[in-house]
Symmetry: C2
Subunit: 326 residues, 2 copies
């Protein structure tokens, strides 16, 4: 059994990441294929099955080498049945029985979870979590995702909406509209999109004269990374934006801390690449808003696995399941 | 084994509640003794041991009738070791090995948890939770306590501060001081004390002429119950206070819902006796601030066990432990 591999799959709207991973969480081989979401997404499982077979052939391995497939999908999941409640980016109909379809297509036992939950499991197993059994992972990307691990298990919630940290209401009155239909969600102020929106808002006040204003005047656009770069170079407008982002993240993460007292809160995703310029400011607000015992024991840390968190955490779904790994 | 009883103990700063409870969670006999916290609290375990022995004698039962003791204590607990980190109201020194001391004194196996966690377990087992394995319980009393159950287990957190819902920061800027040392905690606006404070604040604005103002002018004081009674009778000042309380509770519970998507959020404690006049207003705000899937699946409910929740949940600690109940 020790020489078996697990297939970790991180299914995204445009790209599907795959990896063969051993029982110690080491990536043996990883690669990507495009996600074909045409035709109500019916090619997705077929393409994954083909990709696995071709890669085995390329590596000169038999299918018996594989213990099973763990897969993260971008939508809420019924973990027990492997049904995806909805995943609009993939073309699938609601209540899509992805586990059954993947097993039929690949002849391999499969376990499905939400992609943000997989990222959290990956960081728990091999990343910043370093084995912590109580861990919250927040992913700051185009949107804001989250995964909550308590007592070593993902908190799925009663309909798979556990960990929807991006939809914590940060601005109860007068917040910006969120894709989810609410207003003032954490995602509207802490995602890459939200940070740019805040910066445009700040620049439109008209009194700014720094590098961010120059960039905006010249090109009519900028990215979240531009905001962090400008802040790092002393741009005051950008600094105020980062202060606002850090305030809302610090408050939300402190309140998650007050509720769960996890060993670690791990911050990942593209925005987290800003590093200490963001983390240090979040930490100040976190410490201000956290209950004393939480402040003393819940650690904020940057994610360490980058884009590999998803496939590694997906592999954990198989590794952790006694039905597959004896 | 089926005829065994469990001792459920709910240890408070002034009163200790005890009950003999069968394996089906039915209370056979319940009684109270005063808590003697003099002399660094060293009589507490002795008094519990004596109370159990006297009650067995009174009921004509042998000690072998008892499977063990579950006890809730007012402070953060290391669940694995049965050490109470601190419990100032009891006179105990920090890191008090209450489990070991209780076992020595009673010759019965013991399991210790925080009292708010026990109340949550009680409501899960026999109360409003009705068996829900994902449940959050918030207790609105003199303070605000909380217990979080995920996947059927209490979320203890890394140093026993899981469920400190009362110390969620509700008013990040300019909030009232909390006993915990922070400002603006949920407890400062949603506990009985907090509600009275908000009402005094509202009355001091000077423009009020309702029944609450009359009561305050005549007696110089009033209770949270008076505020609810006044609101029920159309007092506008009291109504505004309840709106404020409901806003902060609705927001905090929605954000807990967005993080955990529990099946139920159960509201208990003295303040919850206000019933629908409070719950209906909380629900409006909860639905405004909850993510759509959470709004559709996480139910708000009033606690049903009242003061018995603590002893029943404490008994669950033994019932749920395979070491004691085969």
């Amino acid at each position: 059994m020790a020489e078996k591999w697990i297939v970790g799959v991180d299914l995204g709207g445009t790209t599907t990441k795959l990896a063969f991973i051993n029982l110690y969480g080491e990536i043996i081989h990883k690669w990507e294929i495009p996600t074909d979401n045409s035709d109500v997404g019916k090619n997705i499982t077929i393409n994954i099955a083909k990709a696995i077979d071709h890669k085995l052939e390329e590596l000169g391995q038999e299918k018996t080498k594989l213990a099973g497939i763990g897969m993260g999908v971008p939508g809420p999941v019924n973990y027990a049945t492997g049904i995806v409640y909805n995943a609009v980016n993939l073309g699938w109909e609601d209540n899509y029985p992805i586990k059954d379809l993947l097993e039929v297509e690949t002849s391999l036992p499969s376990v499905i979870d939400n992609d943000a939950n997989c990222a959290a499991l990956g960081e728990m197993w091999k990343g910043a979590g370093n084995g912590a059994k109580d861990l919250v992972c927040v992913t700051l990307g185009t949107g804001v995702g989250g995964g909550v691990i308590a007592n070593g298990n993902i908190v799925q919630g009663t309909t798979g909406a556990g960990g929807e940290i991006g939809h914590i209401t940060s601005i109860p009155e007068g917040g910006a509209p969120c894709n989810c239909g609410k207003t003032g969600c954490l995602e509207t102020v802490a995602s890459a999109t939200g940070i740019v929106r805040l910066a445009v808002e700040e620049l439109s006040k008209g009194s700014s004269s720094g590098t961010l204003q120059e960039l905006y005047s010249q090109t009519g656009q900028f990215t979240a990374k531009d905001v962090f770069d400008a802040a790092r170079n002393g741009d005051e407008t950008a600094g105020r934006v980062i202060d606002k982002v850090a305030f809302h993240l610090g408050l939300a993460l402190a309140n998650i801390g007050n509720t769960l007292n996890p060993e670690k809160i791990v911050i990942g995703g593209g925005v987290s690449k800003a590093g200490d310029v963001l983390l240090d400011k979040i930490r100040v607000k976190f410490e201000q808003f956290a209950f004393s015992r939480v402040k003393a024991s819940t650690e904020l840390a940057l994610a360490t696995l980058g884009n590999d968190a998803g496939v590694i955490g997906a592999a954990w779904l198989i590794k952790n399941n006694p039905a597959f790994i004896q």
